[in-house]
Amino acid sequence: MASSQHVLLSPAELSYLHSSLSLTPPLRPDGRSPTQYRPLSAETGILPGTNGSARICFADGTEAIVGVKAEVEKTKRRWDDDTIFSENNHHQQQQQQQQQQQEGEEENEGRNNNDEEGGSSDWVELTVEIPGYRDDDSGTVFLGQMLSEALLADGGFVKRLRINRRFHWKLFLDILLISPPLSYPLPLLSLTTHLALLATRLPKLKSEGDEDPFFDDDWAAAPYLYARDPATKRVAERPPVTLLVMAVGGNIIFDPSKEELAVADVVLAVSVGDDAQGKGEDRMDVDGSNPGRNLKLLSIRTVDPPSRLTPPGVANAANSAYGHAQVVNTGANQKMPEARQTESEAVEGVWKPPRGGAKAVVMGALVQKVLVRGGVADEVLDALEGVDTS
């Protein structure tokens, strides 16, 4: 899929980076451990005019702001769904059964209207703005897609937007990258979106049932979109988060910088969420030996690493500008087409871009590493929970 942006690095640098990242343990250029994120500063509630907002700055200077706005919208209903009274439920169920028999668009319709608790994915509108890039640029669109599919993957998120059977909230997520895109911005945007959603509050509903909704004016009374446990003040269920992981040599590296991406063999964007099921027994031992939360895999995307587009290094043996004697047979060397050099055997210390696809084993290992209980995803979620979202 859409390639992350190209960086200009010399073959010698690429070769050095690749070999230092392939060591065990890998040596990252900024000294982080393989699972370590860049240090960041975060704050929420920066924009009083929104339902929820957040801002995150990485130490390297990349910065993003996310604002969430909600509007009440009338739920679109099907032609035969024009009554709202319970006697119609029977009719609906029949309808559903018929559809299930027919298969066809059963799943879609079931989610949209018939299911009492359901929602539709177009209740969420997500836009990404990256300075210097058009909003219809493929990279920008791809980023937006990855972020929104994580949110919409299990249909659980849109359920929260339901007001009653006739109305729902329409949520607008505007994601702004303030700085120029110095590194692939996906982790930053995902973390910021996560925080903004955690801080999002919707006005308290005062109307009842299916009447036209009206709301409490008191913002202090507005409930969070992600409800807090009144006792522990902790968020019961959390928005998804998308992690960027890459594999190089035999190592798996989280939150790669752009230099690291430039030598990656495989790059994956993995979205994970809290699994609501099975939470009961987990929460019992919250303070003690909690081995971590139940994570749910929401989506996986491969990101085309820029490493495949890098030019290969030239070995000394094939380098006409190398050494004293070589100049004599310059003519011969000059005729050597570059293509032949790229296909030549790997030489120690010479950069050779990765070729071919990713091995299934590597992909499996990457996903496994993300989903491991008490692993990186867990700690990222924990750390984000520590940010004051009140």
């Binding site: 250029p29 000294g31 975060a42 704050e43």
Partner: protein, 354 residues
């Protein structure tokens, strides 16, 4: 700890407290209600009247009149409005006077090349007879084919063949260390690599920090290039602090040093001794200890810059020693090379304390 979240450095101010006493004072003053909240600028213990602090007398902002006296000459960062003799500042910066020349050096700006500067640059474009090099300045510098040592071991003429295979010397993306040879009228720099010290860079790591132009970053100093011993089993390392703020840290290769000695035999021999490796893009084998120390040293340089320190030989060497000590004290021992975030702050605090 895979993730550290720090409180925001630049906090957005809380909504202005609708203080009753405050609005009272507004009513009594008649000069418009705008006022500046100094507390929120993060300025510690502001002096009662900063204008009188002798430290700040040379701080100017754009449009400040420096002197109306025509005896002075205007330098960088100043201008003279038409029909006047008033030397006026065009930058936020510090007045510097050299005899009769008045200039303003900015608090922060891009690198401005000067003849003789040692710079590290990245080739971004290859043209027919020259390379265009990014040196972090306002313009790309140019490196003409005629300003490099051609391989071959004999002093020879540049041929058409050389022009045709210009990419075998330097290609897009390659890093070079070079010297500013000449400046164009419009500020563009011309580089040369006609010395054994210069050429293509390999066996190491690159770091871009801000360069000369005020503020933190690399400063012009006596030595921009040196070799230092790696601790914890690492070998010797070469450090190149480009005046433009591009830094290269690499494994020290003996061969180059030998040839540097030979250089003293005579300047005419120089061309003959062009290092075989000048145009190589193949790394020498590097052991993992040296790699680790190279990474640590790079961490020191970025930590210095992130925390607003100058980068020169003395600071880097002291910072490296300090970082090694910090690593020894930490749980994982010398393996601990992380110097980001709070650890970087610790490091610079220790350096400033000395």
């Amino acid at each position: 700890m895979p993730i550290t979240i720090l409180p925001p450095k630049f906090s957005h101010p809380p909504p202005p407290p609708q203080d009753i006493s405050d609005s009272d004072s507004d009513l009594s003053s008649d000069d418009g209600g705008a006022h500046l909240d100094f507390a929120s600028l993060g300025l510690p213990n502001r002096k009662p009247n900063p204008a009188n602090n002798p430290l700040f007398t040379n701080l100017v902002t754009p449009g400040t009149l420096i002197t109306p006296d025509p005896q002075w000459m205007r330098g960088h960062g100043t201008y003279i409005p038409p029909h006047t003799t008033h030397i006026t500042s065009s930058l936020a910066g510090i007045i510097t006077r050299t005899n009769k020349l008045i200039s303003v050096s900015p608090l922060r700006a891009r690198y401005t090349p000067e003849v003789g500067d040692l710079v590290v640059g990245r080739i971004v474009e290859v043209q027919a007879k020259r390379w265009r090099v990014d040196v972090g300045s306002v313009q790309l510098a140019s490196l003409p084919l005629s300003a490099i040592n051609l391989p071959g071991g004999i002093l020879r003429k540049r041929t058409e063949t050389d022009e045709l295979q210009i990419r075998t010397f330097f290609a897009e993306g390659d890093l070079v260390v070079a010297e500013v040879q000449q400046l164009f009228q419009d500020g563009g720099a011309v580089l040369h690599t006609r010395s054994l010290k210069y050429g293509k860079l390999r066996n190491g790591l690159f770091a871009a920090v801000s360069g000369v132009g005020g503020g933190s970053g690399v400063v012009r100093s006596r030595r921009q290039v040196w070799t230092m011993e790696g601790q914890n089993g690492g070998g010797k390392m070469d450090v190149i602090l480009g005046v433009n703020g591009y830094v290269w840290i690499s494994k020290h290769v003996e061969q180059v040093a030998k040839e540097l000695e030979q250089k003293h035999m005579g300047i005419t021999n120089m061309e003959e001794n062009v290092s075989a490796g000048v145009y190589s893009s193949q790394n020498d084998p590097i052991d993992s200890d040296t790699m680790r120390e190279i990474t640590r040293l790079r961490g020191v340089v970025t930590a210095l810059v992130e925390n607003g320190c100058r980068v020169d030989e003395d600071m880097v060497i002291r910072g490296y020693a300090e970082a090694c000590e910090m690593a020894m004290l930490s749980e994982t021992g010398p393996e601990d090379i992380y110097l980001g975030g709070q650890r970087g702050e610790e490091l610079t605090r220790a350096l400033r304390g000395n």
